[in-house]
């Protein structure tokens, strides 16, 4: 978030909206209306004195109304920008009343009440819509009593309650009596999956409740029981099922299948009674709970309709923006040049939203590829920093934020007495432009070769100071920052003397460290401008096409004779039933027309090098590329003798059936030469079991799609399932449609798999059905096994070794971060696309492939990349070649090289090292230095801290 605020290429218009758009793809003109904040962004330091002075208290939207804020406020503590804003709806100052408390409180005169909205016109090549999601307000739902009882919260409200910086500081408290509840109930699917509600599924609520159940107990161990009332637990994403399983092991969490009919509050005790059917006995029952959390649905963002009008794009039936259907492109709107990502086109979970953001960026980039900003750099003569340390220390008041608590004068006097300190100065706002210039002058005047500032946190301001130093040629790594605000004056304001003492100690430690700081040079490495895509399935093809559209040289390598991957064997694609073969033909045609070099029947032999400079030898030729996208796909689980799959020809998998459907050419599907009268599907074959605990995500939607197809030809269908996880755009609607046309859904318990036996020509299926709470027997002509996806072997392992990318516990390739880095890997420059990372539908694979393409593009669009110099370095004379560093580094940065015969020493690849310093901690002989966090620097702090006492 902070990165956006600081990025030189991003212009940020917060508190603003798009009011008009004209033009076409490649040449849009957009009008943005900027609503006034009434607080000058350049002057405001986010100190909050204005807010303290404001007399108005209103509910805080950020805390879902559970907390309060003032009329002048910052929405939350890490807000970007951290400029405050006046909510003029609540503010007292208007034509009649004059309060002006905030204006008087502001030391920097940042507040001005007379600012009018401002229109800005910008010229863009493409647009990305990422308008997110709103939460359904259950206020109108009489049955659930949300409007009556304070002890009923929405999921989002509860989420704020759990947050340490939220309204209750993370304490779980029952709103009516502020006591920790003993029993909590979660009710799923509120406002969705119903005839009167939204028909879609909000996707994220199940896991959100599962997570919150776990968190609630962590926050309040007194909680005795948490019940989750659900219809289907949709733990579909990567790692979700095992997370869900872990919560099932907690004895205080109870999962209860059933949707409450109503929730009633006892007026005296404020306890809540939940009326629900006990589906085991078929009898109505009442569950009493102290608090109820409604997993409230996600709705299209409130401005969707208006924005659709302004942008000229269509909405789907569900009220979200409509995606481009013909090519199953989840990221494209119905108008060229306008892209969709995140929840704009329907509810998504976080990793998919993140991936879609990257994917939409890749698509949008095509229209502006000729307008890339130049990589400029000024030449600055470096200041000579040789000789003994000459340290300058700058103390910031931060208005009264620091100076109001700490005794700056005493500090200044004290700092003067520290060794090698040649200049000390204090300043009202050290970060202001004027003060930064002054700092530069002082560096020159006093020939400072080390600079220490005592101000706010280095996490936000170190880069600013470093840049100020660098601008006049002082190596930025000779700057050191002491956090005397966020970690001192703000948190010890009740004890100013002790706070001052602590500040002085921390400054002394920083000065001691500064003596050992070394100038570090940012190394640059060149970047090959080309990309290799491994795997020619839908994901690989999409990545290649996206990169080609932006003008990057791409090579696509496929092991098989033909391109297309699993797309070749599919019938129709979710969500819009596009024939797979049509899509593949179009994609292949695009590929042919593009500049992508395609090698089929080609395998990767060896991969060497690192980010920007990979050398890949294939069975055809050796390539030098800047980035690699791995899209090698997955396998379908082979049931072997499970359900006698290998024995009987009328036991099929979803994939087998796809093949049959694909060949019917619109006609009737025949199994063993005859049209089946009745078929049964068995879900979760090879998934969600002990051997393979993950959910394969695509099988439920596939089964529903195929069931509908059977119904079209009059075949009866029964589906034996555990939880129907119809995930993806339109899938839930199809599920409802399937029920509507008479598909029978029979839920079987997790631990009682159906049994299939031969019965004449057909098959007999026996299962325990939870609906009737009894054994169900059924004669069918064919059984279709919803076989899940498994990692492709041995390919996945081969690539793991070759690319040095780890595998997740589920066996698929591991992403950089399960939420925030779904397409990146631990190795810079290597990205994942499609099912190699986890099971996905073709459309989802292609969306993720675009994301991978976007990531690769932002790497190879640069000629050179700078390497962070705060990494580890080996002193080879001290290295014993013991391999300790090699074995502990997860980034494979150190490797042993033979410097002379039989002598191996470690060398750290600067492009791979992330600078964590773990290897330096493990090295037995001090051969590795963690630059900028060296042993001397850390020990100097320790010594000075403890030698002089506290």
């Amino acid at each position: 978030m902070m990165d956006v605020g600081r990025h030189p290429n991003i212009e940020l218009y917060t508190y603003s909206e798009v009011t008009h758009v004209e033009g076409k793809a490649g040449d849009f003109r957009v009008t943005v209306r900027r609503h006034p904040r009434y607080v000058d962004e350049d002057l405001c330091t986010g100190c909050g004195q204005c807010s303290d002075a404001c007399p108005i208290v209103v509910p805080n939207e950020f805390d879902a109304g559970l907390g309060a804020r003032r009329a002048i406020y910052s929405p939350f503590s890490q807000a970007v920008p951290n400029t405050f804003v006046i909510d003029r709806e609540s503010c007292l100052n208007d034509d009649f009343l004059v309060c002006e408390n905030c204006r008087k409180a502001c030391e920097r005169d940042a507040i001005n009440y007379d600012v009018a909205p401002q229109d800005v016109t910008i010229s863009v090549g493409s647009l990305i819509v990422a308008t997110g999601i709103d939460v359904f307000d259950p206020y109108t739902m009489k049955t659930y009593g949300y409007s009556v009882s304070q002890n009923i919260l929405t999921g989002l409200e509860f989420e704020r309650m759990l947050n340490a910086s939220g309204p209750t500081q993370g304490h779980v408290l029952r709103p009516t009596d502020r006591r920790v509840p003993k029993k909590i109930a979660f009710v799923q699917c509120v406002g969705v999956r119903g005839e009167n509600d939204c028909q879609y599924c909000s996707l994220f609520c199940c896991m959100n409740s599962v997570k919150d159940a776990l968190l609630a107990k962590d926050h309040a161990p007194e909680i005795e029981e948490i019940t989750i009332f659900y219809s289907d637990i949709r733990a579909f994403g990567k790692g979700y099922e095992s997370f869900y399983n872990r919560t099932k092991e907690r004895d205080y969490i109870k999962y209860f299948k059933g949707k409450p009919s109503k929730i009633v509050e006892d007026p005296a005790s404020h306890d809540l009674t939940i009326y629900v059917e006990d589906t085991l006995t078929g009898k109505p029952m009442e569950v009493v709970s102290d608090m109820v959390i409604l997993a409230s649905a996600g709705l299209p963002s409130s401005d969707t309709l208006k924005l659709a009008d302004v942008l000229g794009i269509e909405l789907g039936q569900d009220g979200f923006f409509k995606t481009e259907k013909e090519n199953a492109q989840l990221l494209r709107s119905t108008k060229e040049g306008i892209f969709l990502c995140g929840c704009a086109s329907g509810p998504e979970d976080i990793p998919d939203s993140v991936a879609q953001g990257s994917g939409a960026a890749a698509g949008a980039e095509k229209y502006v590829a000729d307008f890339r900003l130049p990589e400029t750099e000024e030449e600055i003569t470096p200041i000579d920093v040789g000789g003994p340390p000459r340290i300058g220390v700058f103390l910031c008041h931060c208005g009264i934020n620091i100076a109001g608590v700490l005794d700056i004068e005493t500090m200044e006097e004290y700092v003067r007495s520290l060794p090698n300190v040649v200049h000390v100065q204090n300043d009202l706002f050290l970060c202001s432009d004027g003060s930064q210039k002054l700092l530069q002058e002082m560096i020159k005047e006093h020939r400072l070769n080390r600079v220490v500032s005592a101000a706010c946190t280095p996490r936000t301001h170190e880069p600013i100071f470093q840049e100020t130093c660098a601008r006049i040629g002082l190596n930025p790594y000779l700057f050191e920052m002491v956090n005397v605000r966020d970690q001192c004056s703000w948190v010890h304001s009740q004890e100013p003397l002790l706070a001052t003492q602590r500040a002085m100690d921390q400054i002394r430690m920083a000065v001691a460290r500064a003596q050992w700081l070394e100038p570090l040079e940012q190394k640059e490495i060149s970047v090959e401008g080309s990309v290799l895509v491994i795997g020619g399935g839908p994901a690989g093809i999409q990545s290649a096409l996206d990169l080609d559209a932006q003008g990057f040289p791409v090579t696509l390598v496929e092991k098989e004779k033909e391109l297309g991957g699993r797309l070749r064997f599919l019938d129709r694609l979710l969500p819009e039933n596009v024939p797979a073969v049509d899509l593949l033909q179009r994609k292949l045609a695009q590929l042919k027309a593009s500049g992508v070099r395609v090698f089929t029947e080609t395998e990767i032999k060896e991969v060497g090098g690192f980010v920007g400079n990979f050398e890949v030898s294939t069975t055809k030729e050796t390539l030098k590329v800047g980035s690699i996208i791995l899209a090698s796909g997955s396998d379908v689980y082979d049931p072997k003798d499970e359900y006698d799959y290998e024995k009987y020809s009328n036991v099929l998998t979803n994939m087998d059936l796809e093949g049959i459907f694909a060949q019917t050419d619109g006609g009737e599907a025949l199994i063993n030469g005859t049209k089946p009268k009745r078929v049964a599907f068995i879900q979760c074959v090879g998934s969600r079991n002990e051997d393979n605990p993950h959910c394969s995500r695509i099988c439920c939607p596939t089964t529903v799609k195929q069931a509908l197809r059977f119904r079209e030809q009059g075949t009866d269908v029964a589906v034996f399932y555990r939880d129907m996880r119809t995930v993806g755009h339109g899938a839930e609607e199809q599920y409802r449609a399937a029920r509507g046309v008479g598909v029978v859904f029979i839920r079987y318990p997790d631990d009682q798999k159906p049994v299939v036996t031969k019965s004449g020509k057909g098959l007999r299926i026996q299962a325990f059905g939870t609906m009737l709470n009894d054994t169900v027997n059924m004669e069918v002509d064919a059984v279709i096994l919803a076989a899940g996806m498994v990692p492709k072997e041995p390919d996945t392992n081969t690539f793991k070794e070759m690319l040095k990318v780890p595998r997740s516990p589920d066996g698929f390739m591991m992403e950089r971060h399960p939420k925030l880095g779904p397409v990146e890997t631990t190795t810079d420059g290597i990205f994942l696309a499609g099912c190699v990372q986890s099971p996905k539908s073709a459309a989802e694979s292609m969306a993720q492939a675009s994301a991978a393409a976007g990531k690769a593009a932002s790497l190879v669009c640069r000629e050179r990349i700078k390497l962070d110099p705060t990494i580890c370095r080996v002193n080879e004379a001290l290295c014993r070649g013991c391999r300790t560093c090699v074995s502990i580094c997860d980034f494979h940065a150190p490797e042993l090289v033979e410097t002379s015969p039989g002598i191996f020493v470690a060398r750290i690849n600067e492009a791979l090292c992330k600078g964590c310093g773990t290897c330096a901690a493990w090295c037995p002989t001090e051969a590795i230095a963690a630059q900028h966090f060296t042993d001397q620097q850390i020990e100097a702090m320790l010594e000075t801290m403890l030698e002089e006492g506290l």
Partner: protein, 59 residues
């Protein structure tokens, strides 16, 4: 290069998806304009306490 010659991308919405899109574009040396109706970036995700399965903090 003057302003009129540059063409950027407009990102509407400063939640996690929009932020990701904007950063990727900006890192690809593309000019990005980000429009957010609220006073701060962050969207829904900023409101979440932690995210499963890793229980990372959301901000």
């Amino acid at each position: 290069m003057t302003e009129t010659e540059t063409k950027g991308v407009l990102v509407i919405g400063g939640g996690i998806a929009g932020i990701q899109a904007a950063l990727d574009l900006a890192n690809s040396r593309v000019k990005v304009y980000m429009v957010e109706k609220a006073p701060s970036l962050g969207g829904r995700m900023a409101q979440l306490d932690k995210t499963f399965p890793t229980m990372d903090c959301s901000i």
